[in-house]
């Protein structure tokens, strides 16, 4: 996903000289194509995320379209106030890019796991929050952000994600993508955990359940229209995110549903308000915390 992001940004940056990529001293082996092909639009700001983010705001207010880049919580929580006051409040053209949303950096430990970022960034006014599910969405999100005027957060996986969508017609910030129709159950997924949904579907199919599946590359602004449509059409809506189940994508869906007089039952699949203390790779941690395909299926079956 990060390679797709970089490849896409290189193409965009060649066409639009206002685009700048500023990294907090990360991206070894990843950002090389960018600095080789667009050297004048690349900056390594060092291991200093607070300064990086305010510098990006200053650059943006002087006409640049700036992407800041780091991993895990470093481009967001470490410099949250800079994102809030300097970028968002000024509607500065800064796109904060995180590599490694969720358990991507599994074995590296809790410090490197971004599991509250969506909730926190979503709470900031004038910040668009995007979490693409696969390589196709990652490319579309990057293109959309290059055009978007304002502050945004792009939460990416790392590598090894698949192309799940063949292609996406008319990608728009704020619009969910219907993968396919189904009955009784609708699965809403944001971010790279989408790869688990395939397995979930296989398990459900054995019980003759064909769920509808949607991805939400945009968590904010949330696609109310799709939620409203599904609220009455299905018995159960299951939201899936590699993130705390408080405040994130599931909460965004819950906020819309709760205001309706009648709606489908909601199941929020996510990390149950804890830090990951176990050691292991991304897949292992998903299993441990109930976020793998089979666990998601079990939770759905327990709720219908």
């Amino acid at each position: 996903m990060r390679d797709t992001f970089v490849r896409t940004l290189v193409q965009l940056a060649k066409e639009d000289k206002r685009i700048e990529l500023v990294t907090g001293d990360l991206g070894f082996g990843v950002l090389k194509p960018f600095w080789e092909q667009c050297p004048d639009q690349f900056t390594n700001a060092g291991i200093a995320e607070q300064n990086m983010t305010s510098v990006a705001a200053g650059m943006a207010l002087t006409g640049k379209n700036v992407f800041t880049y780091s991993i895990g919580n470093f481009p967001t929580l470490r410099c949250l106030e800079q994102v809030r006051n300097d970028c968002a409040y000024h509607k500065a053209n800064v796109k904060v890019v995180c590599i490694g949303g969720g358990f991507v950096y599994g074995s590296l430990g809790m410090s490197h796991q971004a599991t509250e970022d969506i909730a926190i960034l979503r709470a900031l006014p004038d910040v668009v929050v995007l979490a693409p599910a696969d390589l196709v969405e990652a490319e579309e999100c990057t293109k959309a952000l290059a055009k978007y005027e304002g502050t945004a957060y792009l939460r990416l996986g790392r590598g090894g994600e698949k192309r799940i969508h063949d292609h996406i017609d008319n990608f728009q910030i704020g619009k969910a993508i219907k993968v396919h129709d189904g009955e009784k159950v609708a699965i809403f997924s944001t971010g790279a955990i989408f790869e688990e949904i395939r397995i979930t579907e296989d398990v459900l199919k054995e019980r003759d359940i064909i769920p509808a599946v949607y991805t939400f590359p945009t968590v904010k602004p949330i696609d109310k229209e799709t939620i409203l449509e599904c609220a009455t059409k299905f018995d159960l809506i299951a939201t899936c995110e590699e993130h705390n189940y408080i405040g994130g994508f599931g909460s965004a869906v819950a906020e819309v549903l709760a205001e309706l007089p009648q709606h489908a039952r909601l199941l929020r699949v996510g990390l149950h308000d804890e830090y990951s203390v176990r050691v292991g790779n991304q897949h292992y941690l998903r299993e441990q915390y109930g976020l793998d395909g089979e666990s998601i299926a079990k939770q759905i079956l327990a709720n219908i």
């Binding site: 200093a48 305010s54 705001a57 200053g58 207010l61 002087t62 640049k64």
Partner: protein
């Protein structure tokens, strides 16, 4: 009407007293310390167009110590960005003039209020200007207490590394911060050596002396045009509360506003003692006749610092710095 820097500095002080008096606002001490630097920037240094605040060719300015916002509001109003009358709305319901600097006001490029942001933003502006080969300059005023923030030193590294010779940082070094003198809080001297060690051009001046301020900005202009490409810091040694003797070097006036009675009357009359002849006081043209005067019971000429009353039972060898009231001299007790 075009003011001299001395006239504008006086007006900033007079507006500062009136605005905090009317609103119950804070930070008058900082407004008074920084007034001369801010005034000189607007009268003698920066290029700007009050009729076209977003003019591309303007020099950029950030007041990173956003709590001294009233100084900028006064400077902008007196420089034609908006009516002077609007200053009276400071802090009021529905006003555009928040206590900390807001960009929802013509002439303000960047909102501040949380310390340690402005210098990085100014560096970003300078960097973008430099990348595009533009000749506008980026100015930012930071506080000395603000230099406790780690992000200030991140920005110091960045600005030097990217050779931002179009960036000028002015430190309003009034030697006091929220509870005490800087040296009794987190020791920052030798301050100039720290900046030098970070690779900066360092100019140290009396920041309440207009000749020295102007000479410092001239020097910056030279530095910005010559090799090596280094950013410049002007360490403006100022006095907190400068211009009103009973407020000088007293941390009380970081918070307190001049109340009705002797505080307001004496503040106004003290300013009238130093009023340049070419300027008019828009509020009390002739000062205050028959002012209320302080009595022996009033808590005056006490610096109200934390270290005066903080007595630990464990041995500690922190260096204490006391103010010598009414002067810039400090007493160092090791």
């Amino acid at each position: 009407m075009k003011h001299t820097s001395e006239e504008l500095a006086w007006l900033i002080r007079r507006h500062g007293v009136e605005m905090t008096h009317l609103s119950g606002g804070s930070h008058l001490g900082a407004i008074l310390s920084v007034a001369d630097v801010v005034a000189t920037l607007y009268t003698d240094v920066m290029h700007y167009d009050p009729k076209n605040p977003k003019w591309e060719g303007r020099d950029r300015f950030i007041l990173s110590k956003g709590h001294a916002g009233a100084s900028i509001y006064a400077a902008l109003a007196e420089s034609g960005f908006f009516p002077v009358e609007e200053l009276k709305t400071h802090y009021q319901n529905g006003s555009r003039l928040s206590g900390h600097v807001s960009h929802h006001l013509p002439g303000v490029d960047f909102s501040t209020g949380s310390l340690g942001h402005g210098m990085s933003a100014a560096a970003g502006i300078a960097y973008a200007l430099k990348k595009d080969g533009r000749k506008e300059l980026s100015f930012v005023v930071v506080g000395d207490g603000e230099c406790n923030e780690g992000s200030v030193w991140e920005a110091a590294l960045f600005a030097n590394h990217f050779r931002l010779n179009n960036l000028c940082v002015i430190v309003d070094h009034n030697h006091m911060q929220s509870l005490d003198f800087n040296e009794n809080t987190l020791e920052i001297e030798d301050f100039a050596s720290k900046w030098k060690a970070f690779g900066w051009n360092v100019i140290e001046i009396n920041g309440n002396n207009h000749q020295e301020i102007k000479a410092a900005f001239k020097k910056f202009e030279e530095y910005s045009n010559t090799e090596p490409h280094k950013p410049t810091v002007i360490i403006a040694n100022t006095v907190k509360g400068y211009g009103i003797p009973f407020m000088q070097n007293d941390i009380l006036w970081h918070y307190r506003f001049p109340h009705d009675g002797w505080e307001y009357d004496c503040a106004v009359n003290e300013l009238h003692k130093i009023k340049p002849s070419g300027v008019e006081d828009p509020y009390t043209p002739n000062g205050i006749e028959n002012p209320v005067l302080p009595t022996g019971k009033d808590d005056i000429y006490n610096d109200h610092t934390f270290s005066y009353t903080w007595k630990t039972t464990y041995p500690e060898k922190m260096r204490r710095v006391d103010a010598k009231i009414g002067t810039t001299e400090k007493v160092h007790n090791v």
